[in-house]
């Protein structure tokens, strides 16, 4: 399955997010901006939940391209230690089980567009080790 845009995920399996590191300051941002001021850098697969909310109404189209039949979805910020805090969905977790500080791992999830095409968007799920514990 294709990512929702180019240059978001690395080619490896499983993939990682691609951030951009400022050549001048070393600061990391996501996604990697175009131009030559930032160097692409693969971001950590593991992180912790920094904050989140649940989107309860269908965002306006355009620009939203999700299905007409709306299901609420999570919008989270995940801290990748020493790198950057990235905005992403959460997957494989019930809304009521989401907790700030929980351990997460990168797991891109399918996003069905209103055109019928399905693409992958950045997402994290509870870390395997945390589940086993």
């Amino acid at each position: 399955m294709q990512a929702i845009a180019e240059n978001l995920f690395t080619d490896e399996q499983p993939p990682r997010l691609i951030g951009g590191q400022s050549k001048a300051s070393g600061r990391i941002v996501f996604p990697c901006p175009e131009g030559d001021e930032f160097e692409p850098v693969a971001l950590s697969r593991e992180g912790t939940l920094w904050s989140y909310t649940i989107q309860r109404f269908r965002p306006k189209s355009p620009p939203y391209q999700g299905p007409e039949a709306f299901e609420p979805f999570s919008v989270a910020y995940v801290e990748l230690p020493g790198q950057v805090i990235v905005e992403a969905r959460l997957t494989d977790v019930a809304f009521e089980d989401i907790a700030i500080g929980m351990k997460l791992e990168f797991a891109p999830m399918p996003f069905e567009k209103s055109t019928g095409e399905t693409v992958l968007v950045p997402a994290f799920r509870p870390a395997a080790m945390a589940e086993a514990a």
Binding site: R27, V29, R56
Partner: protein, 381 residues
Amino acid sequence: MGDVCIIGIGIHPFGRTEGMSGVDQGVFAVREALRDAGLEWKDIQFAYGASEAAGNPDTMVDRLGLTGVQFINVRNGCAAGGSALFSAQMAIKSGECDIGLAVGFDKHPRGAFDAKPSEYNLPEWYGEAGYMVTTQFFANKIMRYMSLNGISRDTLGRVSEKAFRNGAKAPHAWRREPVPIDVILDAPMVSDPYSKFMFCSPAEGGVALILASEKKARELGITPIRLKAATMRTRPPGSFEVFAPSVDVERGGTATNIASRDAFEIAGIGPADVRVAQLQDTEAGAELMHMAENGFCADGEQEKWLAEGWTELNGKLPVNTDGGCLACGEPIGASGLRQVYENVVQLRGEGGERQVPGSPNTAYSHVYGAPGVSAVTILER
């Protein structure tokens, strides 16, 4: 040299007014302010006008009179009104002019503000995936804040409850019915933890303030309200702002921190000297976070402040005495000036049912908005 003074105020009620354009509402507010000051339009030497979505403010000279007045339009996002006021006070401070106008109005379509990724230097996929939604940012910001500082959802409810209770007492407010806290907490969720009663809506309205030098105010025989400080500042590194696909791990301060600190320094007072405050409350949690960001309490103390009623009209620091954005809605160009209008009303002792007791002599106003801007004013009687 003396202080810059506010000598006239006018407002067109906020909310929805069918059949009146944004400019109409701005003109209405200017006429009210002129009447309040006992002046005529020809007396005004200059004007700064703010509007985000309702046309060019300087077109109002058609209606007010073609006096050749200097009229500058200001478009500066959520800080537009504050920027107009800042600019107006500078014109007087410079000595170039001694009487002028700051006016703001707006008229937004219903529903959440529209935003396109390209306007914010963001990739298209960000909008396609459903992230160009301002409410997501506000919800994420308060979720983090609540988790770090022990703020309960009930406290968010208390902020909204107070807003609607105060709004019911303010003739210019939009929402004029009290809403019980259970209804607020149990209402449909927009973006967790916020229900629909915890967000303000885009709206309409107009506000005009007439400013003068202290010397001019004395000549006119008007008891002035003194503008002791007006600051407008942009964000420092490491702040968390709307439409952010990523945030720095190293956390920083906010535009509000800077605007507030500098305003207190210019006015030569501290947070404990303030008797009434209007703080940006586009959502219930914003009022709480802004209490701390402006220096009125420490992070986490809001839980006790709200439980004890310290921000009520008769509390130790009444906050958003006209119901704020939650009860008045947010016409962007007018919203920051509404706060100053309300503070002038309170300092004059003309608040009626919503008047803060004890003849308050110092009032504070604060705006915050995208993409990380803040404007603060401090008034003294």
